[in-house]
């Protein structure tokens, strides 16, 4: 029944000429290819712009819990490990001031991970610094009192030891060569309250054969180059970074602990008083001086509990335990400073199960493989128990907080990263895609030229 339709269609089609569209079709195809390439490039550019304008994995914005009137940031109530591909502190997009630094095993992947994480003071902007082998925040990597700089000893071969100071506001690095003659290694021990001075410890060879060394403590002013000798001690002496130096709030005096000896000295290097501390007592940390400079705080270990007590810096006489809650079940505590209402802010080092049973010396108890995680605790006068101010993931074994934030005492609610991928990851992804597009574009261009020649 469709014979007639078939015939009609063929008869009608026979009258249709063959359309000469070859050249136009080629032109259309080439134009389409150009537009596709242009659109792809535009998408890549837009993607790159989006990546740089919206730091993925690092939520910005104002901190939710910051109390009004501070204007100088606040302490996050939680930290996370840095996103994969987080920006570095020296990258072109500086973070400004940091609230804290943290370090630990597997911070960025490997066990002995020498990555320092920095968290912004105003928001959860994460930056990282690779320092070679693992170096603990607050002990070897130190945040300046205003949170704008960090000091650390870079890896070296011992021929030119130095301390690097990274400015977090612009990413620049200031190199401070070792100040002691014959130094084979140097590292920072503490910032002065105004951020101008830095106490450093050098390991100095004593004889040409390098058979023995001495520890030399000095106060240096990086901007002026001024150096003051503070103390010397045999290399067998125990100087525990993070506990060995505490500046008085006025910056004119400091307490130094070498072995069990506590020395009060002025910034000119003149020792004023020297005391011996009982066993299981140690200078409490960089915040050991009371806000009025009338007392120096020591951390006392009683079994698995730690308490804070004070001594008179003029006489060394005990002034008694502070009326703050003890911290139990931890490997150690370290006093960062004093917040509103006289509350002490301490780092609590929670031991691994194995370390809790075996380690005794403080330098071993806070060693990164022996620390499961850390918490920041507020020990308020008269309180029954510590108040947790900040938590960290398993593996974070050390933390340092800017002194300004410790005094301010503000806490903000931290926002977890939206995704665990940072700007560097996206940047390199875009670069890889762009390179792939360039290769494809190049092949297309070569093919097109060959076609044109024909």
């Amino acid at each position: 029944m469709t014979v007639r339709l078939r015939e009609a269609l063929h008869e009608a089609a026979d009258e249709v000429p063959g359309y000469l569209v070859y050249e136009r079709a080629l032109a259309t195809a080439r134009r389409t290819r150009r537009r596709t390439a242009a659109a792809t490039a535009a998408v890549l550019v837009a993607l790159a712009a989006m990546v740089w304008s919206v730091p993925v994995g690092q939520p910005g914005g104002q901190p939710g819990g910051m109390e009004p009137g501070s204007g100088s940031g606040a302490l996050p109530d939680q930290i996370w490990k840095p996103p994969i591909g987080a920006l570095r502190v020296t990258d072109p997009f500086p973070m400004g001031s940091a609230a804290l630094l943290f370090t630990g095993m597997r911070t960025m992947g490997s066990d002995e991970d020498g990555t320092v994480g920095a968290v912004g003071a105003e928001a959860d902007r994460y930056r990282v610094l690779h320092v070679g082998y693992i170096k603990s925040a607050g002990h070897v990597v130190l945040l300046s009192p205003d949170g704008t700089r960090l000091a650390y000893p870079p890896e070296g071969d011992g021929t030119a030891p130095r301390v690097d100071i990274v400015d977090l506001t612009d990413g620049s690095v200031q190199q401070i060569p070792a100040v002691a003659a014959g130094s084979v290694s140097t590292q920072p021990l503490g910032w002065s309250p105004d951020g101008r001075g830095l106490v450093v410890i050098d390991s100095v060879r004593v004889d040409a054969e390098r058979s023995s060394y001495r520890n030399v403590l000095s106060l240096v002013e990086p901007d002026t180059g001024t150096t003051v000798h503070l103390a010397s001690a045999p290399d067998t002496s125990s100087i525990v970074p993070g506990y060995a130096v505490a500046f008085a709030p006025d910056g004119q005096k400091l307490a130094l602990q070498v072995d069990d000896t506590l020395t009060i000295t002025d910034v000119a290097g003149t020792p004023r008083q020297t005391f011996r501390l009982p066993p299981d007592e140690i200078l409490a940390g960089k915040g050991a001086w009371s806000p009025d400079s009338r007392a120096v705080t020591v951390a006392k270990r009683r079994g698995d509990a730690w308490t804070l007590a004070t001594i008179d810096p003029a006489t060394g006489a005990p002034l008694g335990d502070l009326d703050v809650p003890a911290v139990s079940g931890v490997a150690a505590i370290r006093l960062l400073g004093w917040g509103p209402g006289g509350a002490a802010l301490v780092v609590a080092y929670q031991p691994t199960p194995e370390a809790a049973r075996t380690t005794t010396k403080i330098e071993e108890r806070i060693l990164y493989p022996n620390v499961r995680t850390v918490r920041l605790l507020s020990l308020a006068p008269g309180a029954a128990a510590p108040i947790t101010r900040m938590t960290a993931p398993i593996g974070v074994s050390a933390v340092d907080v800017a002194d300004g934030l410790v005094r301010w005492g503000g806490t903000r609610v931290a926002e977890p990263p939206f995704v665990r991928l940072g700007p560097r990851f996206w940047f390199w992804l875009v670069v890889a895609v762009a390179l792939g597009a360039a290769v494809l574009g190049g092949r297309w261009y070569v093919r097109r030229r060959e076609v044109s020649r024909r």
């Binding site: 029944m1 009608a12 063959g18 359309y19 093919r447």
Partner: protein, 173 residues
């Protein structure tokens, strides 16, 4: 001759050899020479972009597939202004050529079908494809092809009965 020259030569040869047949299909799909040229040009352009992949695998079938899908796409964009009418809007009258008269009649009748119906008619009765082949070209099931074919014939009988054989009368047992 380089790879690109060979590539271009193959495509040129294909266009030269198959332009006539594909032009006829394009015209019956669109019913208009200008639209048919544009349709064929677009189909060839797309074929050229993918020539490296399809040149060894029935490129003509690919061109037909592109033409039919492109035509349906165009129809969807224009359908606001196009309306199907009960009778052909264009009737042969002044054309002195019988063949031209037939061409206009066929084109006008096909324009009264939906693009899918038109595609099925052209593929089945001009290109002589089987229903399965039509289904493959249009990317639909054989059942859909049957339904579109049935609807198309019924409509053509209504608007241009001379183009279609008279239906057989059912035998009465």
């Amino acid at each position: 001759m380089g790879e690109a020259g060979e590539f271009n030569g193959e495509f040129h040869q294909f266009v030269v050899q198959r332009s006539r047949a594909l032009s006829r299909t394009a015209f019956l799909l669109t019913g208009d020479h200008q639209l048919a040229e544009d349709l064929l040009q677009a189909a060839f352009a797309r074929t050229y972009r993918h020539w490296r992949r399809i040149r060894g695998d029935q490129p003509e079938a690919y061109v037909r597939r592109v033409m039919h899908h492109q035509h349906i796409s165009w129809w969807r964009r224009r359908r606001v202004t196009e309306r199907l009418t009960a009778a052909p809007p264009e009737r042969p009258g002044d054309d002195p050529s019988i063949a031209a008269t037939l061409r206009v009649t066929v084109a006008a009748a096909l324009q009264q079908l939906t693009p899918r119906q038109r595609a099925v008619v052209v593929l089945r009765y001009l290109d002589d494809l089987t229903e399965a082949q039509v289904a493959e070209v249009l990317g639909c099931s054989v059942g859909t092809v049957k339904r579109h074919g049935h609807d198309a014939l019924r409509r053509l009988r209504a608007i241009a009965p001379k183009l279609v054989d008279a239906p057989r009368e059912r035998s009465v047992r």
